[in-house]
Symmetry: C2
Subunit: 115 residues, 2 copies
DNA sequence: CGTTCATATAAATGTTTGTTTATATGTTAA
DNA sequence: TTAACATATAAACAAACATTTATATGAACG
């Protein structure tokens, strides 16, 4: 797998509303599956499925603690990149720019409906 | 359309190998469709179709000059963001990092098979 | 051990998406 | 206006993907 393919896979994985919601909720923290299920309002199997995708794309990594499995970002630089992209896309037609969501905390408040 | 949706759309559009190839070829320049067709080796209708997607996502913008239509990036910051993402994804399993493709020229040589 | 809780997987379904083939629109020049 | 070139669109098809429902694995605790 060459670098173009890696980048493509990485971006494709990011380009899903529910997965972005999850990444946004996780941020710089470490979250259990049930926490993500609850905060996103998505079904448990759906969350688990997307988490698998995110893990296989190596965007998230896991650690088991007792009965819980915790997910966190593998590379925090992702937040910077998403910050830029959010800025760019936020300036597109029919809406104006605003505070950055990604980048540095607290950016996980109020935009995605995550609590 | 809220910002989450915009970001999602933006990322989804980026997450395609052929579209990335085209963006990579265009870079900071302004390119005609036939130039892109030739450099990518893709069929003309396919290129035209992807260019439409990129234009509708407001990643590219167009200018007509005589019989030619030129496409260029609407926001050059995209290259910085892609630079970060390329760095991150390049460090993933089964391959090691290397020079950045996006960011500053000449990053459009040699990685995508674009000439 | 057997029950309960947390998470993962499988099969089934409907939708979206990329690609091809064929054709149309638009521009220039003779 | 007709011919030649540049680009765009449409229909048709196949493959990929997100989602649901149902079930399985795995850990803790009585």
């Amino acid at each position: 797998m060459d670098d173009a393919a890696k980048l493509q896979m990485y971006l494709q994985t990011l380009g899903d509303a529910n997965r972005l919601k999850m990444i946004n909720y996780i941020g710089e923290r470490e979250c259990s599956v049930s926490e993500i299920v609850e905060s996103t309002g998505l079904s448990q199997p759906l969350v688990s499925h997307h988490l698998r995708t995110l893990r296989e794309s190596q965007i998230l990594e896991t650690e088991r603690k007792g009965p819980f499995v915790y997910y966190k970002l593998k590379d925090k630089r992702l937040l910077s990149a998403l910050g830029i992209l959010l800025e760019i896309s936020g300036e597109l037609k029919d809406r104006k720019p605003h505070e950055a969501m990604f980048c540095s905390p607290p950016w996980w408040t109020s935009f995605w409906g995550s609590k």
